[in-house]
């Protein structure tokens, strides 16, 4: 299924947590994300959005099914290769920023490159470039707690981009930002997307999701429907086990 044009491919993915009563966080999800596309994922709390992102971000492995990222089946990789994939192929923007508290902005942005064995000077140059791109050229030496929420999110964004990932994953990137800052971040996403990066963004907000090419609606661990924007035709949600009724109510 994983063709050259497919950035991420999920086939019948299940993730079950067994703490007492088994929780099916993902219950048979199949999804193809073409390269260079912009996908939004929506759904109520607890529907499995973060679980899905963790799988695509190579942070986690499915209980069943197959996740293919950048042409490689994630669960067939050992821990070392998976870590490598997550360091180079994907850039993860967390809802809670997840910056290193004792490292300044430049060092935070440069952190992923440290683990790729890239030299110090080169790392700093690259980090300063990226900070400039996200409009933080003058905040390089600040620690995270000396930055505003929006600035932190932009640092996190710069960090996600530092290794030139093919895919950028953002889990509620604007969850606690004001509208102006949110707009800035989303504009940056558009920029990356225009530059050819595959974007997958989880959001609760309709207007954020509408920046994407399509919206995947999750409900109780299944794909409820996939909504194609910009006049694209709605496609059937998924095959097995999904309650996918395509409704195609694009605005």
């Amino acid at each position: 299924m994983a063709t050259a044009e497919t950035a991420v491919s999920l086939s019948d993915v299940r993730k079950t947590y067994r703490i007492g009563e088994p929780v099916h966080a993902l219950d048979g999800v199949s999804l193809e994300v073409p390269q260079g596309s912009y996908t939004a994922i929506m759904g109520p709390s607890g529907s499995g959005k973060s679980t899905l992102m963790n799988l695509v971000g190579c942070l986690d492995t499915p209980t069943e099914g197959e996740v293919v990222v950048g042409g490689r089946a994630v669960d067939a990789l050992d821990d070392r290769e998976r870590t490598r994939l997550r360091g180079t192929e994907v850039g993860f923007v967390f809802q809670t920023f997840n910056l290193m508290p004792r490292l300044n902005a430049v060092e935070n942005v440069a952190l992923p490159q440290l683990f790729q064995g890239i030299g110090r000077t080169e790392r700093r140059e690259r980090a300063r470039d990226l900070l400039e791109r996200v409009g933080l050229a003058d905040r390089g030496d600040h620690l995270p707690n000396e930055l505003s929420g929006g600035q932190r999110q932009r640092v996190a964004l710069a960090r996600a981009l530092v290794n030139d990932p093919a895919i950028v994953l953002a889990d509620e990137p604007s969850g606690n930002l004001d509208t102006d800052t949110e707009a800035e971040i989303l504009d940056l996403f558009d920029e990356f997307h225009d530059a050819g990066t595959t974007m997958i963004v989880v959001t609760h907000e309709r207007h954020v999701a509408e920046r994407a090419d399509r919206i995947v609606h999750l409900l109780d661990g299944r794909i409820e429907r996939i909504e194609e924007l910009d006049g694209g035709a709605a496609e059937p949600a998924s095959r097995t086990g999904s309650s996918g009724r395509s409704e195609g109510d694009s605005e």
Binding site: G57, L59, R102, L103, P112, F115
Partner: protein, 430 residues
């Protein structure tokens, strides 16, 4: 990730918790400091007592009579049993080159003309060959039966005007009696000539046993209880008995030395000797070379040092448990940071290396501070007890190695725990 980067990151997190890191290293500091200080003191003590001498009196065996199971160094438990006749008889033995008694004569003072210096244990009475020819810087050996003396440099230089060969000195014996001696030689060192004296530098005057000791013991009595008691029980008052006897073998060949030792022991323990009257079942004659005697002293010092190093090792163990404990706390506390690092591509070995580096830095800092503190402690101690300061440099190198080792051992488990942290769990950790 290259080691330099690990070092840099680890150093930052240590600096981020200054007080905690300082307290953590304290255990190591104290442990290493204790080892270094005591080993320094031990080495200084050894240098003070034994010096770095290599015994060149290797033809000699030193003998005294004591209860068979007496422990200790030269002359431990010695009783005065040897008579002049015994000495002559031993010297006549085939395997023996020379034999003479050894005794110290207590003095009050020594005068060189007008000038008088107090001297408590000034006279060492023995045979002429006790001062070996090659040890003489000037003059010659004293002769038995003459009022002659050989001085060591410390004794010769204690007067305003240095004593030289040919000068006459007046010695005041402990009882108050004055005797005149002619200086016939000066030795080349102020250290002791045999293990009987000890090897530390001090002023010494060497005289022949005859007339000094023989007259002393038979006539006035030396004031030493030993001799008085001995003379009575000997029942033949007037004859001096020696505490110690020195037997010279024809060469320093081990076989010759053993032969001399055996024949002297055999004779002295046989009924022919005067000494045998006292020996009986209670006392046994023992002859030892100075190497053997030094070895005994060395053994005692070694035992002492091992004991102290053992105690310090326990303190190091406690110190490393401290490091392990703090590292575990630190790993838990930084779970989220570990999660972030792993999420952005840190391999397990990167995380392992990071925490291990941190533990090693703590260990090494502890070792360096401990070494410095220990050296200062050793210096102060040696100064206080007035010993020649000797730094055991191999221990300083060892201390740093131990610091690294302690860091690695203490950091291994916490670092391993950090490395296998699951990134998702770690990121979810509040």
């Amino acid at each position: 990730m290259n080691p330099l980067e690990s070092l840099r990151l680890a150093w930052r997190s240590i600096r981020g918790h200054k007080l905690r890191s300082a307290l953590t290293t304290l255990g190591i500091v104290i442990g290493i400091a204790a080892v270094i200080a005591f080993v320094t003191l031990g080495a200084s003590l050894q240098a003070g007592i034994i010096g770095d001498i290599s015994p060149d009196d290797q033809r000699n065996v030193y003998g005294w009579a004591a209860e068979p199971d007496t422990e200790g160094g030269p002359l431990a438990g010695a009783q005065p049993v040897f008579t002049g006749d015994d000495l002559e008889a031993v010297e006549d033995l085939e395997a023996v080159e020379a034999a003479y008694g050894y005794a110290t004569i207590q003095t009050q003072a020594i005068s060189n003309g007008e000038e008088t210096v107090a001297q408590g244990n000034g006279l060492i009475a023995s045979g002429p060959s006790y001062i070996r020819e090659e040890r003489l810087a000037e003059g010659r050996q004293f002769r038995q039966g003459e009022s002659e003396a050989v001085l060591n440099p410390a004794a010769a230089n204690q007067f305003e005007e240095n004593v030289t060969v040919g000068d006459e000195l007046t010695v005041t014996i402990l009882g108050g009696e004055r005797r005149t001696v002619e200086v016939v030689g000066i030795t080349d060192t102020s250290e002791g000539q045999s293990p009987f004296e000890g090897f530390e530098s001090s002023p010494r005057v060497y005289v022949p046993t005859d007339p000094y000791y023989t007259e002393q013991a038979s006539g006035l009595g030396t004031g030493g209880g030993d001799d008085g008691g001995d003379n009575e029980s000997a029942g033949e008052s007037g004859e001096a008995r020696f505490l110690a006897i020195i037997v010279e073998a024809p060469s320093d060949d081990a076989a010759d030395i053993d032969a001399a030792r055996e024949s002297a022991t055999d004779y002295l323990e046989s009924d022919q000797s005067d000494a045998s009257e006292f020996l009986g079942d209670d006392l046994a004659v023992r002859f030892q070379t100075s190497t053997e005697l030094l070895q005994q002293l060395q053994d005692v010092l070694d035992l002492l040092r091992n004991f102290i190093v053992g105690i310090a090792a326990i303190s190091l163990l406690v110190g490393s448990i401290g490091i392990a404990n703090i590292m575990l706390v630190s790993v838990t506390e930084r779970t989220r940071e570990i999660g972030i690092m792993k999420a952005v591509g840190a391999q397990n070995r990167d995380v392992l290396g990071l925490f291990l580096t941190e533990a090693v830095i703590l260990g090494v800092i502890g070792a360096i501070l401990g070494t410095a503190l220990g050296l200062v402690g050793g210096y102060v101690g040696a100064e206080y007890v007035d010993l020649p300061l000797v730094y055991p440099l191999e221990y300083v190198a060892l201390a740093v190695v131990v610091g690294i080792l302690v860091g690695v051992l203490a950091g291994l488990y916490p670092a391993w725990r950090a490395a296998r942290t699951d990134p998702i769990d770690a990121l979810r950790y509040e």
